[in-house]
């Protein structure tokens, strides 16, 4: 019994935040909601954590209905909102103890669950939460969300604003939690993190574009992608966009991801074209599609 969402819709007056969302998260699954800012991820989280009531549709968390059994859900879920929302003027230990107490448990009772996260912040346990670094705050928030041994964990953009090293550590922690029989629903705007989930749902403008494993999503990408680079990035993008056969042009790190409309595309042709546009140091290499490419293609 994981999470079951069927035909959930929610609008704020004129704005449609969610439209007919349905998906299922299996027990012990690490499920990712991937989408840009404003896609409706937080709204969906707030509905599933019983903070918001949907206009239409049904959702159950570990078999409990979000409307009728919200009290049971609150006992069994852990929620980590996108914004750091612990008491900044209480210390690390006091925050943790506070959440343990209001869940009717103690730190000792479920210590083994949070142990490997808590040891990292334990040296600072007498420091006020407001004085912690971004990564430390995330770890503390995760501890607080786990202290009552939830069956389902909701993480709303947990790695936004966290440095790459802490982000990697954080995902390692999630993988370990999964081993401890916890179903995890995580949202992120970072496409590279999507590959770390068991399954992902791509969401945009309140609608789900696709649900599958990251591998399958990439596999379904039919086009051949080329990494293109040249001496002048800005001019390169403009030239590529002006090229008559271009299908998509997206900047991707130091390269530009380029796809062509023709199936018999010859990179040399493109190179000549770019040289005519007075670009130098041109390199055109075939590359592997990523989730980001899939998302951009679907969101097109």
């Amino acid at each position: 019994m994981g999470i079951l969402v069927s035909n959930i819709s929610k609008s704020y007056k004129e704005v449609k935040a969610l439209h007919n969302i349905s998906f299922e998260v299996k027990p012990k699954e690490l499920f990712g909601l991937i989408g840009p800012d404003g896609a409706g991820k937080t709204t969906l989280f707030r509905i599933l954590t019983t903070l918001l009531i949907a206009n239409e549709g049904k959702a159950t968390i570990t078999g409990f209905d979000v409307l009728n059994n919200f009290k049971d859900i609150r006992k069994h879920v852990g929620y980590m909102p996108g914004r750091f929302s612990l008491y900044q003027d209480l210390t690390v230990e006091e925050n943790l103890k506070f959440f343990a107490t209001i869940f009717g448990t103690t730190i000792e009772e479920n210590y083994e669950l949070i142990e490997d996260i808590y040891v990292q912040i334990e040296p600072f346990k007498n420091r006020r939460a407001g004085k912690l670094s971004g990564g430390m705050k995330q770890k503390l928030a995760l501890c607080c969300a786990l202290i009552h041994k939830p069956k389902v964990l909701f993480l709303d953009e947990p790695t936004t604003g966290v440095d790459p090293v802490s982000r990697k550590e954080f995902w390692d922690m999630l993988k370990r939690l999964q081993q401890k029989n916890i179903t995890i629903l995580v949202s992120t705007p970072y496409m590279d993190e999507a590959a770390l989930c068991d399954r992902i749902a791509l969401i945009q403008n309140g609608e789900i574009l696709q649900i599958d494993t990251p591998e399958n999503i990439v596999k379904q990408y039919s086009k051949v992608i080329y990494d293109v680079s040249a001496n002048n990035m800005y001019q390169l993008i403009n030239s590529l966009k002006a090229y008559q056969h271009q299908h998509s042009v997206y900047p991707f790190g130091e390269f530009v991801h380029y796809t062509d409309t023709r199936s018999d595309f010859n990179p040399k042709e493109l190179k000549t074209y770019l040289e005519e546009q007075k670009l130098s140091n041109i390199s055109i290499e075939r590359t592997q599609a990523t989730i980001e490419d899939s998302f951009m293609e679907m969101a097109k």
Partner: protein, 373 residues
């Protein structure tokens, strides 16, 4: 129970760690008590007094000396003409001008009747009224004296009967304003601090996002609310205690009534205020909004509480409105118990009304409080 206790503990920790808030809670109110109680008096003193003496006689000078002798008047200048006196009043240099007519002494002796012109600056109507009373008193005593001086032996048989009133001021014999104001101002402080703090407190959790985190926990509405508001109940009681000690030590305000009764009433009264605070925080999203609404209501409540202006002199519709003013009841009870020594039976009507108010206010506030948005 354990949960409530822990929330209370957490709340106190946060209050005492807030270095900016602590002095606001404890030092400023007491400073206010000391300053306001000394400053907010209805006694009119240092009245700027001027005169136009057209007579320049012994009698006119005697009259002016009477004013000079009074502690209420600051005799400033003599003006040669009424025009100059008027322009001085326009500039605000004088408050009262007395115009002594020509032949003042002669008419007084001959006709035993004379008219004096008195001009009072009545921009502050209340002060003008008080000044009028002072002037009348001085002139009356002056005329009595004159009568004695002019009295001839033959008149003694036909002396008119004189009715004199000697007022006795009960419960505040010397009409000491501090005795009257201190209990009222204490009420004001207890109310303001508890209302502002409780109103802002839950909104603060909304603002910093912790409320959302709390709302997904299985904590009960009642546990959370009691845990959040109880510390302010304690702070309110603490403020009352400190205020009473100061009232006794600095202002020597009499405390005739039973202190237990006063605490019992206050404990119910603070519940009304906390209910209001919670109610306000239900409707607001930021501390700023909460503060502004709380401030708006406090001002109305204070001005209509009978603290500064007597309720009896308000128009009838306003008097009916004051029935819904909790501060009014607190001011009444405080003055009755402290100055008059009223017992439980005497304050029963106020007590019951406050209790009903507390129950209704808290039911409304708890009913409006939602864990979901």
């Amino acid at each position: 129970m354990k949960i409530i206790f822990y929330i209370i503990q957490k709340e106190f920790k946060q209050i005492f760690r807030n270095k900016g808030m602590l002095p606001i809670i404890f030092v400023l109110p007491l400073l206010q008590l000391v300053i306001l109680s000394n400053a907010a008096t209805f006694e009119v003193k240092n009245i700027k007094f001027a005169y136009i003496d057209n007579d320049q006689s012994t009698s006119s000078r005697a009259l002016i000396e009477k004013f000079e002798a009074s502690t209420y008047f600051n005799v400033q200048t003599s003006f040669p003409s009424e025009v100059l006196a008027s322009s001085a009043m326009l500039k605000g240099e004088v408050d009262v001008v007395i115009d002594i007519p020509l032949y003042f002494e002669r008419d007084l002796q001959k006709d035993k009747k004379v008219n004096l012109g008195i001009t009072i600056n009545a921009i502050d109507g209340a002060a003008a009224g008080v000044e009028n009373v002072y002037i009348t008193q001085i002139i009356r005593s002056f005329s009595k004296q004159i009568k004695m001086d002019l009295k001839q032996k033959s008149d003694s048989q036909i002396q008119p009967v004189n009715i004199e009133t000697i007022p006795l001021f009960w419960y505040n014999e010397t009409l000491n304003y501090k005795t009257f104001m201190v209990p009222g101002i204490l009420v004001l402080l207890v109310t303001m601090i508890t209302l502002f703090l409780s109103g802002m407190n839950i909104v603060r959790e909304k603002e910093i996002g912790t409320l959302e985190q709390i709302n997904v926990t299985p904590i009960k509405k009642s546990q959370f609310i009691i845990g959040k508001l109880f510390p302010f109940w304690i702070i309110g009681m603490g403020l009352l205690t400190i205020g009473l000690i100061l009232a006794r030590l600095i202002f020597n305000v009499p405390m005739l009534g039973n202190l237990v009764l006063m605490y019992a009433y206050t404990s119910v009264y603070i519940l009304v205020i906390l209910g209001m605070g919670l109610f306000i925080s239900n409707f607001t999203d930021t501390q700023q909004q909460a503060m502004f609404i709380a401030w708006f209501f406090t001002v109305i409540f204070i001005l209509m509480s009978g603290l500064f202006t007597p309720i009896e002199s308000m128009p009838e519709w306003a008097q009916i409105l004051t029935e819904f003013n909790p501060i009014k009841y607190f001011v009444e009870v405080m003055r009755m118990v402290m100055l008059k020594g009223s017992g439980f039976i005497d304050i029963l009507p106020q007590f019951i009304k406050t209790l009903i108010y507390a129950v209704i206010m808290n039911i409304l506030a708890v009913w409006r409080y939602r864990k979901t948005t």
